[in-house]
């Protein structure tokens, strides 16, 4: 396993507000990395920097040994990105969308067509492939997004809440796909609020809070270090105010009034 992502002393300001306060990470290929943290902790910012969307950062961020700031194009062709909330141009059909995205990645048109047709079939969307996506459910759009993020066979995949809107069967399928992609050497950067999935799926878990890494390791390691039974519990212990029992009691009391 070689180092594929290297982050040294990463800082990022929005105006005078410091979102990332010096992050250091080294990530090996062929792993699923769980990237977790409360809202506003700096998760999305890190992902935006790693995908080349934000380049005005301070510090060193290297993918495959290349500094992102200076080689954003080479890096963009290496990575795939699936944003949350399934935002895409839904006036197009899935096939048209893939044709468009594939075109932006300079892929061969016939290749895109055959590949995306097969991928849609696997996801059970073969019959919808030429329908406009305005009528699609959130889960269907999510599947289209997942395919569009992997169409160009990226080495590193950035997923932001990739299971949202999907039904249980699709969730199992996607999890297995991610598992098998790891075994063929892909690196997956997985960001989510669903702790159970992260706990079971990820080889390594990175927890950030207010722009700093506060825990890093396999689930087993974290569990032993923090003395918690589940990732959820540990998350609450490290980032919450640990008042949830008192707050819940208060809530129930008020409802009774």
């Amino acid at each position: 396993m070689e180092t594929i992502i290297e982050i040294r002393n990463l800082h990022k300001f929005y105006g005078s507000h410091e979102v990332l306060k010096g992050i250091d990470l080294e990530i090996k290929s062929g792993q699923i990395i769980g990237y977790i943290g409360p809202n506003g902790a700096g998760k999305s910012t890190t992902i935006k920097i790693l995908t080349g969307l934000l380049i005005d950062y301070a510090g060193e961020v290297k993918i495959n040994g290349l500094e992102i700031k200076d080689h954003s194009l080479e890096i963009k062709s290496l990575i795939g990105y699936v944003p949350e909330n399934a935002i895409l141009y839904d006036s197009l059909s899935p096939m048209e969308y893939f044709r468009f995205v594939g075109g932006l990645h300079q892929l061969d048109l016939d290749k895109i067509k055959s590949k995306s047709q097969e991928l849609l079939r696997v996801f059970g969307l073969a019959d919808n492939r030429n329908e406009r996506m305005t009528s699609f459910s959130k889960g269907m759009k999510q599947k289209v997004l997942l395919i569009s993020g992997m169409l160009h066979n990226p080495q590193i995949l950035f997923l932001d809440e990739p299971l949202s809107g999907l039904d249980a069967n699709s969730v199992i399928l996607i999890k297995e796909i991610l598992n098998q992609m790891r075994t063929v050497g892909k690196t997956i950067f997985y960001s989510s609020h669903i702790m159970d999935v992260v706990e079971k799926l990820c080889d390594r878990i990175i927890l950030i809070n207010s722009g700093l890494v506060i825990a890093d390791g396999t689930f087993e390691e974290l569990k032993n270090a923090q003395n918690s039974a589940s990732l959820e519990q540990m998350f609450n212990l490290l980032t919450g105010n640990n008042e949830h029992i008192a707050l819940a009691a208060e809530f129930v009391e008020i409802i009774k009034e």
């Binding site: 194009l73 935002i87 141009y89 006036s91 044709r99 594939g102 075109g103 990645h105 030429n130 305005t134």
Partner: protein, 553 residues
């Protein structure tokens, strides 16, 4: 205003003393809905969604009132009551239908009631009545804004009693309009998917915008008042029975002149009967099926599209125009989106229609209306050739300006994460998508007209016009920062962009003028054509080289 309305309705408690209606709930639902109404963003004349603000609805009413005051002039100045009241009633019906379809459709179609209200202990009759009353309040406010000027004018010209009759007849007409619109919705919902319905609404909105933006130009030319004087003693018959505004016209005529025709009573029965019967039908029949019907809009998928891959024409064209992936992808993307995105269409089509309608209106005022007369006139005015040729290049600008806007601008992340070295390739795809699509849509018919009316010697001029239009666009792309297509929420274009656009239009105007002057020396234009092609190819190469530093992200 809403508080007053709620108080007034509160006084009507005795009307609703039924066991299955909870009046307090009803008032609460109404109050909430009226508040929401006043905050709903609306689409203004330029097709831009108006930002949420207070009193939107009141402003809209004021606007309608002013417009209606102008329409009330008909009642003052037209000598025949049949005509003046028919026209005003037609205006009333059309306005209310359009507002019901475009603006109020979101309220009629709103299915959130069933999730938010119906999951609470609210009886279906309470909910139904609240919706009905809500619709009535809305309609009454609108109708008053439309009718008040006419009522005042009628009272002044024909007396108080006539004005009262007019008010009553008009309110029946409003009810009938509501019924017809409802019928329209039920039909559309039965046969088409929700998508189709949205498209139909979109078309109606575009139609309204076109009428509002360009209507006065046409009205000025088409209306000649002397032709109306001849129908002083119009007999009721035939097609009058299918035009409700004519019913009001004839009934008002009878009220004013006391001249009864044998058919007058038929019209009276129709105008009172149809609304009452339909109202009874709506309340009794629909009340039960109503929940299910509306609730099913959300998931029903009628008129599903076939699985067959119908290749978009852009995918066939792009093959001949581009080899590079990014240009080609963006060419097809722009082509498809400009035909599909409703907001884009709503913004662009009316402006394009306006430009086309403002083309020479000289024909409309010409005394000799025969085809030969028109042809002779046209042939004597060669400047029109150049006017038509260069007008279309402004259309390209309108399109280029609007193509950057999109409801969900975040969707443009695909561009940002793609590995395109030179975004100039994107520019090129966009430029030629707009050029080929819009220039050709207008140029082929216009060329046909020019060649058949003015002769084949203008062929080289037409080509020169096309080249100039494209070159002026190329210059624009090279000189201003480029914004990715469909990547911005609605905003005003930047000042710099507007200045460059005006400069470009000025440039096109100058070239058009010079072209007009030197055009009789035919080989000059031929040489110009060749030079233009060379310039065009060079500029294409330049655009392709443009880097990311010239893109707004």
């Amino acid at each position: 205003m809403n508080k007053v309305i709620i108080k007034l309705i509160g006084k009507l408690r005795f009307l609703f003393s039924r066991p299955d209606v909870d009046f307090d709930q009803l008032l609460l639902i109404l109050e909430t809905k009226l508040t929401i109404d006043n905050r709903r963003s609306r689409v203004n004349l330029q097709g831009q969604a108006v930002k949420e603000s207070k009193y939107i609805f009141i402003k809209q009413l004021a606007f309608i009132f002013v417009l209606s005051s102008l329409m009330a002039m008909f009642i003052i100045f037209l000598p025949t009551p049949v005509m003046s009241f028919s026209i005003y009633s037609a205006y009333l019906m059309v306005t209310i239908t359009m507002i019901l379809i475009t603006d109020f459709s979101s309220v009629i179609m709103d299915t959130s009631d069933f999730v938010i209200v119906y999951t609470r202990p609210v009886s279906s009759r309470t909910l139904f009545l609240s919706r009905l009353i809500h619709t009535f309040i809305y309609l009454l406010q609108l109708s008053l804004a439309i009718l008040l000027p006419a009522i005042i004018v009628t009272a002044y010209k024909y007396g108080f009693i006539t004005a009262v009759v007019f008010t009553i007849l008009s309110l029946f007409l409003v009810l009938m309009t509501l019924f017809l619109t409802n019928l329209f919705y039920l039909l559309v919902m039965r046969f088409f998917s929700e998508e189709k319905l949205k498209n139909i609404i979109n078309l109606v909105q575009i139609g309204i915008a076109i009428v509002l933006m360009s209507g006065y130009r046409l009205v000025m030319n088409f209306f000649s008042f002397d032709s109306l004087e001849n129908i002083d003693n119009l007999q009721i018959g035939g097609w009058h029975f299918v035009l409700p505004p004519m019913w009001v016209g004839f009934l008002m005529d009878t009220t004013i002149t006391s001249k009864f025709q044998s058919n007058t009573w038929v019209l009276l029965v129709l105008i009172i009967g149809i609304p009452l019967v339909s109202l009874y039908y709506m309340t009794s029949k629909l009340i039960n099926g109503f929940g299910g019907r509306l609730g099913s809009i959300d998931d029903s998928k009628k008129g599903k599209k076939s699985v067959e891959n119908k290749k978009d024409i852009s995918e066939l064209l792009s093959k001949f125009i581009f080899k590079s992936g990014a240009s080609r992808a963006n060419f097809e993307f722009i082509w498809k989106m400009t035909s599909r995105d409703r907001n884009f269409k709503l913004k662009t089509f009316p402006m394009v229609a306006y430009l086309l309608i403002s083309m020479p209106t000289i024909f409309l005022v010409n005394k000799d209306k025969s085809l030969n007369g028109m042809l002779e006139l046209a042939q004597s005015q060669t400047w029109m050739v150049f006017y038509m040729i260069y007008m279309t290049s402004i259309i390209m600008n309108v399109v280029r300006q609007n193509v950057v806007f999109y409801e969900k601008p975040l969707a443009s992340w695909v561009f940002a994460t793609s590995s395109i070295r030179n975004p100039g390739e994107l520019f090129l795809g966009q430029l030629y998508a707009i050029a080929v699509k819009y220039l050709m849509i207008f140029f082929i018919p216009i060329s046909f007209i020019i060649l058949s009316v003015w002769g084949f010697e203008y062929l080289d001029d037409i080509f020169f016009g096309i080249f100039i239009a494209i070159i002026s666009q190329q210059v624009l792309y090279l000189s201003i920062k480029y914004t990715l297509p469909f990547s911005l929420a609605n905003e005003k274009p930047s000042g710099a962009q507007t200045i460059f656009m005006l400069l470009q239009m000025f440039f096109v105007g100058i070239v058009g003028y010079l072209h007009n002057i030197i055009s009789h020396v035919s080989y000059v234009i031929l040489i110009g054509d060749i030079m233009a092609i060379v310039l065009l190819v060079i500029l294409n190469k330049e655009i392709k080289k443009i880097g990311w530093e010239k893109v707004n992200i």
